[in-house]
């Protein structure tokens, strides 16, 4: 690991320990819990819960999640391209820099238009 990341690692450990320590310490300091078993039931606006909450929900959310993977990977591919873009321009490779990304985005654009036509992007 490069040395520049050592403070970052220590920092993330410190950040992680802050809520954990506070949770544990105040568990002993705060006054004890009072009240019957009703307090430990799920909140359903005053109705007794009928079933487990982990039931079915709209399949649209799965599609959104899959689309997210596609588009986020695309973002990740764009990051190094964006960082190198200036270098390529300086080396007179403007056509290469632009075309390489146009091809990549063009393929995705076709997919996007197909999704749009199919209605995969509508949640209504």
């Amino acid at each position: 690991m490069p040395p520049a990341y050592i403070p970052l690692l220590l920092f993330s450990l410190l950040v992680l320990s802050f809520p954990i320590i506070t949770l544990i310490v105040f568990n002993y300091i705060r006054p004890g819990s009072r009240g019957g078993p009703a307090k430990f039931q799920p909140y359903e606006c005053g109705i007794l819960p009928e079933s487990s909450a982990r039931g079915r929900y709209s399949a649209r959310f799965y599609i959104i999640a899959m689309l997210f993977v596609v588009f986020d990977v695309e973002t990740i591919f764009l990051f190094p391209w964006a960082v190198l873009f200036r270098t390529w321009l300086a080396a007179h490779l403007a056509a290469f820099a632009l075309l390489s990304m146009f091809v990549f985005l063009g393929i995705l654009l076709v997919g996007y238009i197909w999704l749009y036509k199919k209605g995969a992007l509508d949640l209504a």
């Binding site: 949770l23 909140y43 359903e44 959104i64 973002t75 990304m101």
Partner: protein, 466 residues
């Protein structure tokens, strides 16, 4: 044993600035988050012609501390049906993700935990992407209908807008040519421009996406209290709830800091190259002194003695700090050789650019967060399908087109020898045109969709009637 101690000492000597920043961030950010809440309450009260919190401390200044104490000693419930460990762990994860991503952000030229990492903003984006895990795990572990619907909605929203935010950031990286935070700011200094002026569309798509990513109004559907009680936080109470709350406000600081670094010139003051604006350098010290004098003036008029004492302490602190830096600047201007050679003078003098940069940086982040509050009290909440349509039908294509247009603009500048401004203005106008086309198409699409839904409904009604 001795060797270990010496190793630790050597480590601290090498990294003391970074370690100090780390401890300061962990200690101060929760406090700042509390005070952002107070400012939000005050802004809301002002916009609704009320006073807001006035009881605890002068003008309610101690309200966040009272709230923190209340939340810390509040009863701590875990529902019987909940998944105990995940229920415990989820808010911790949210909070950790939000605070860890601050490690790579530069609050001024040297106030930064990880100063030399070259992936700076990529680290911020990557770590803050862990936040949705905390939300979806918390909602799932609660085993409550409201929680689980809120968590799923929230995750769908966060991941939809994360893509937009990523594309908007890419348009900034194209201009800067680096991911390292300090280099991005230096590139804006060297280029004599903040990138918000070169790619306004990129900045505004990032602004909208960052509002959605922090679950703020008008995109606060996961916690839409009129339909989902409190969304994924329904079963959380006391300190666990406040961890989610802190995470939300820490995330606001993070997205504000990223937007400021990339688009608003980071810690640079306005017009850093204009010489006659040099007096602006003294602004932080002057402002502190003014706050101190104001506190002295108000101290005598406080109804209670505690309040007056509080005002005096604040006044004293402000004036002492302002005096130290003011004197250092004066001593620097007057060529007093003996003083200038002294070690403590040099140390103070070297600290000033850091504090001064932090002042401008935090001022810009505050302005960014103020926009969040302003929008919250101005706009009504979106419906979920409207939110998704805005994200997938308009913002994602628009931010993609913006990436392309910034690339084309840069290519025009370097290859065809155009000036920077005509190239950038032309491509921005082209992007805006595409954005308007998208909105038009989308309106037609939405009108057609709602017409077909209405037709379906009337058919259903007819079948009932028949």
């Amino acid at each position: 044993m001795n060797a270990v101690l010496q190793g630790v000492l050597a480590f601290v000597q090498t990294w003391w600035v970074e370690l100090l920043c780390a401890v300061l961030i962990v200690l101060v950010v929760p406090l700042i988050a509390g005070y952002i809440v107070l400012v939000e309450l005050k802004v809301m009260a002002d916009m609704q012609a009320r006073l807001g919190p006035m009881r605890v401390g002068p003008h309610g200044l101690l309200q966040p501390i009272a709230d923190a104490v209340k939340l810390l000693i509040k009863e701590d419930l875990i529902p019987d049906n909940a998944d105990q460990f995940i229920f415990w762990f989820a808010p911790v994860l949210s909070m950790t993700a939000a605070l860890t991503s601050m490690g790579a952000i530069a609050f001024g030229p040297w106030f930064q935990v990880a100063r030399d990492i070259n992936i700076g903003l990529l680290f911020v984006v990557g770590v803050s992407a862990l936040g949705p895990f905390g939300i979806v795990l918390g909602g799932w572990a609660s085993n409550n209908h409201y929680s689980i619907i809120g968590a799923i909605r929230s995750t769908a929203q966060l991941i939809s807008y994360e893509t937009t935010a990523g594309f908007a950031l890419v348009s900034g990286f194209l201009l800067a040519g680096t991911l390292k935070v300090s280099d991005i700011v230096q590139a804006q200094y060297a280029g004599h421009v903040w990138y918000v002026f070169l790619t306004p569309v990129g900045f505004f798509t990032y602004l909208i996406a960052s509002i959605a990513e922090t679950n703020r109004a008008p995109f606060d559907l996961p916690e839409a209290e009129s339909e989902l009680v409190a969304g994924y936080m329904t079963e959380y109470s006391g300190f666990r709830w406040s961890l989610y709350f802190l995470a939300e406000y820490a995330n606001m600081i993070v997205v504000g800091a990223v937007g400021t670094t990339l688009f608003l010139g980071g810690w640079l003051r306005p017009f850093p190259h204009v010489a006659w604006l040099g007096w602006v350098d003294a602004l932080p010290a002057l402002l502190l002194a003014a706050v101190g004098v104001y506190c002295v003036m108000r101290a005598g008029k406080q109804p209670a003695r505690v309040q007056a004492m509080f005002m005096w302490v604040v006044a004293l602190l402000c004036i002492v700090v302002a005096l130290i830096f003011g004197l250092v600047e004066v001593a620097h201007a007057s060529n007093f050789a003996a003083l200038q050679a002294s070690h403590s003078f040099l140390l103070l003098r070297s600290m000033y650019p850091g504090l001064y940069g932090a002042f401008w940086f935090l001022l810009k982040v505050s302005a960014y967060i103020y926009i969040f509050m302003w929008l919250r009290f101005t706009l009504p909440r979106f419906r979920f399908d409207q939110l998704m349509r805005l994200g997938w039908h308009i913002l994602i294509p628009l931010s993609l087109v913006n990436v392309i247009s910034v690339g084309v603009g840069l290519a025009l500048e370097s290859s065809l020898g155009w000036n920077r401004w005509p190239a950038m203005i032309l491509t921005s106008i082209a992007t805006l045109f595409v954005g308007m086309l998208l909105i038009r198409w989308n309106d037609k699409h939405a009108a057609a969709a709602s017409a077909s839904i209405a037709a379906d409904n009337s058919q259903v009604e007819d079948s009932y009637a028949g």
